[in-house]
């Protein structure tokens, strides 16, 4: 932060001349950011903070992308897409002073999985409590959990420093790339002999294989396996799913690694705070300003054409859209090489998730769980074996939503009083698996409702009064996520988090440093390193690269 401030003072001169250059245009900016998702807003706020004149163009009448909360049913605020926060980098919250603009992340207590036989397994933040809880299911697993947690944390330590760094290009001989690779190699070496082998295995193996190394209890494995499939078109036994589990562990809430929390007021509070931070820095957000195409002249991006026909010009264009939407929909294919386009087409971005947002007239009963169990405040699940997770995935492969879906269900109003009237509750239900295209044709309203009914019935098996309490439900399939939010195929991470699409291969080999193949154009969405999850890191990293190109940056934005 301090380095950046110093660097900015040094670059005041450069900034002034840049301003001078663009003042000749009307409606002209230093930078346009396409899409007011959390990464677009992050990038914009950093750029505006550096003194650039920035505008964020958003297609929808509301901002936030998938970091959004809206009142659809009176009195209730839904976190319509993303619903919990952990990965959001604290450096970014600090740099952009997001607390000043109302952002508050409240950590929650653990979670639980209800079992078919009427029992449950909970996890708690208290270590001793968790160990005793696991021991109810397996004394051996209770101790194995420590070994498991240790391994996961070791991997987190390895990855965490990379999150806020531009991935080094292994084919480049630039000093910074060589240094980046050297640092990476050294961090890898520092893991120690055994962990070096384990790391390679970890990044490529399946979650099932990983968990089998530690645990014997089915429900313990199922409880932990959930995070390996969230947002991913992989089954727990597919190679690569172990990394997705890690991706969900590497966040933190105020230094507590792996801890998750609610954004008070819903996930839209994150985007709102970012937009306020952007505006305080002199930036601007324009809603209902859909970008139809990026304008390219002489191999350089010079602005965008809006769907309305209006043109907005800028020195720099930054896309917060996913890589497919950016290059296949918002650009003229003539402006890009065939080789690049082929790779974009091959980028894996398969939708696999749906979402139900439910307004409840009261707290549902879960007879399996004691009423005062604090884990009810956390994530609730009803899939008690890896086998059934895998069967749920089979349905997806067959072009059908899971008949027995995996749910990541939460009742944020147990901690956040702002989202529902007193005594009533908002329930967020993330659902896996839901295909973007069905075997029997396109999604329709009827099919969407049938999917919603499947989920509600599945939950009702564990909660007899659940259906009676439902006041309203918003059902979202990949179809809605693509058309309303703009996520290609409804993929929540802007592209699969598999090893072939991570680090210097994300999104496209050779284009991992946030620069598009067209000059003056950049990518800042979750298709870029380090990927999705309301982290803000792609946005901050992209801003740093942009400022670097403008010779306005220090060594780091954070």
């Amino acid at each position: 932060m301090y380095l950046l401030i110093l660097a900015l003072f040094e670059c005041m001169g450069a900034k002034a001349s840049l301003r001078e250059g663009v003042r000749t245009f009307m409606k002209s900016y230093d930078a346009i950011v396409i899409g007011a998702g959390h990464n677009g807003l992050t990038a914009a706020a950093y750029l505006a903070g550096a003194g650039l004149k920035v505008v964020v163009l958003e297609r929808n009448p509301h901002i936030g992308g998938a970091s959004i909360s809206r009142e659809i049913y009176p009195g209730f605020t839904y976190s319509n897409c993303s619903y919990v926060s952990s990965l959001m980098r604290p450096e970014i919250m600090r740099d952009l002073e997001l607390p000043k603009y109302g952002l508050q992340i409240i950590p929650y207590e653990g979670g639980l999985t209800m079992t078919r036989d009427g029992g449950y397994l909970a996890s708690y933040t208290d270590h001793d409590m968790s160990r005793r809880e696991i021991a109810r299911h397996s004394a051996r697993d209770a101790e194995a959990y420590d070994r498991y947690a240790n391994e996961v944390l070791r991997q987190c330590r390895f990855i965490k420093p990379m999150l806020m760094q531009t991935p080094p290009d292994p084919t480049s001989f630039k000093p910074r790339d060589i240094k980046g690779l050297w640092d990476l190699g050294r961090a890898f070496h520092d893991l120690g002999e055994e962990a070096m082998y384990d790391t390679i295995r970890f990044w490529t193996m399946s979650c099932t294989d990983f968990l089998e190394q530690y645990f014997e209890s089915e429900v313990v494995k199922a409880h932990l396996a959930g995070t390996s499939i969230i947002g991913t078109a992989l089954g727990p036994s597919s190679p690569g799913s172990a990394y997705v589990l890690l991706h969900h562990y590497m966040g933190e809430v105020d230094g507590n690694i792996g801890s998750w929390g609610f954004a008070r007021g819903g996930m839209g509070a994150i985007a709102r705070a970012m937009a306020a931070a952007l505006e305080a820095r002199g930036g601007q957000v324009r809603t209902e300003a859909e970008v139809a195409q990026v304008i390219v002249r002489n191999g350089k991006a010079t602005g965008v054409a809006l769907a309305s026909g209006e043109e907005v010009h800028a020195r720099i264009v930054v896309s917060n859209m996913d890589v497919k939407r950016t290059f296949l929909k918002a650009m003229d294919s003539k402006d890009l090489s065939e080789d690049f386009l082929r790779q974009v087409r091959n980028f894996k971005i398969r939708g696999s998730s749906g979402k139900l947002n439910i307004a409840l007239d009261g707290m549902p009963d879960f007879p399996a769980v004691p009423k005062d169990c604090p884990a009810l405040q956390g994530d609730l699940h009803i899939t008690d074996s890896i086998e059934s997770l895998e069967r749920a995935y089979d349905d997806w492969k067959n072009g059908m939503w899971s008949r027995r879906p995996y749910v990541d269900m939460m009742i944020p109003t147990l901690l956040d009083p702002t989202m529902a009237p007193d005594g009533k509750h908002y329930m967020s239900v993330f659902v896996q698996y839901v295909p973007p295209k069905l075997a029997d044709g396109e999604w329709s309203t009827e099919k969407r409702d049938a999917f919603g009914a499947t989920v509600i019935n599945a939950i009702a098996e564990y909660s007899p009064n659940f259906k009676d309490l439902i006041l309203h439900a918003e059902v979202r399939t990949p179809h809605e996520l693509e058309n309303e939010v703009g996520l290609t195929e409804g993929n929540i991470f802007h592209g699969e988090l598999t090893f072939d699409q991570l680090m210097f291969n994300r999104p496209i080999p050779g284009y991992a440093q946030y620069r598009a193949p067209v000059r003056n154009m950049y990518m800042c969405g979750s298709s870029t390193h380090p990927g999705g999850g309301v982290m803000g890191a792609p946005g901050a990293n992209a801003a740093r690269e942009i400022l670097r190109d403008l010779k306005m940056g220090g060594t780091g934005a954070a």
């Binding site: 932060m1 301090y2 604290p90 919250m93 600090r94 997001l98 607390p99 508050q104 992340i105 409240i106 950590p107 207590e109 933040t125 208290d126 809430v253 105020d254 230094g255 507590n256 008070r264 147990l414 901690l415 956040d416 009083p417 702002t418 007193d422 005594g423």
Partner: protein, 395 residues
Amino acid sequence: MTQPPYKAPLLESPLHSRTAPLCLGNEWTRWGGYASVDTYLNTEHEYFAIRNAATLFDLSPMRKYRVSGPDAARYVSRLVTRDVDGLRPGRVAYAVWCDDLGKVLDDGTIFRFGPDEFRICSQERHLCWFLDCAIGYDVNIEDVSERIAAISLQGPRSFKVVQALGLNDCRTLKPFDMTHFDFDGGPMTISRTGFTGDLGYEFWLASEKAVSLWDRLMEAGQAYGIRPIGSRALDLARIEAGFIVPLVDFMPAGEALRPSRGRSPFELGLDWLVDFGKGHFVGRRALLAEKERGRGRRVVGLDIAGNKPARDALIYAGRSKQVGAVTSAMWSPTCKRNIAIATLDRPYDTMTEGLWVEIYVDKERKWEKAMAPCRIAARPFFKPPRRSATPPLDY
């Protein structure tokens, strides 16, 4: 319950029967001879309840002194450094009192119940000093600590809990106002005070009624996410609020062995608490002299780079000259800043850049030293509008 001291070295608060079963982690600390809950189970969750919902803290071990009699106002005015004449009945004031050398003995709150009746609340015991200072005054000083219990209700939703108890009159209470109610046939005082820098109220009543009040508060707070908090969570909130604590951020003059350890109100950054215009008070002459020559050091807030809390860190001007030390430090979850309260020697207490803290970091039992740049920051670090808005904001 009159066990000899060798069987029960620590006193139990009137609320012990309620707090003990809830203290699931069995983490206790000592406070003025009482067993006090350090953490019920999870400090982090308790802390967030202060900033997000509503919390109860057993404040009973606080020392409470009743000061009454025709000379009460003159006496209190002589005792503390701030003006007390302007303190109307029904108001509360934060104050410090000094020894003759102008060094702070303690801080506390003064409640004015009537023209001739005050209550002084403090962390430490001061009966001796208060009696010493009473010579020549027609005043009665009584330690009522055991008789009066206190519960602190703090958090953005605390007024909702107050309302649920039917105490709507509290709506108009401004910060540092107090009002009185009847509770179970006895008097109860509610003051809009607290140590969290958030919206909050403190309830004062006879010790034997405390359990009943605690139960009613817990019940009324169910719908508002109420939870009891221990002193660790409270300490995090008070650092964010920028409050200093004797024995932590400074040595009370009465307890320091080294005479140089005493701190004046000026050195503590409490200049606003010293009123030279009100007539004589203990320490006045020394403080006037200090004002003349300038203080030697000052307590300040710090904003530190990075996220490693700078607990007990030394502070340097440049990289080598030691100019002070951190006394309280934390990563602030609410501000998302790495904050600290520190004492800096003059003139470094006004330096705008070039200050560094030396942080020792435990990397799995391998200690490493990190130098982090810092700058002086305004306190309170956290000052939400809801802290002072009247009527309370719906949050």
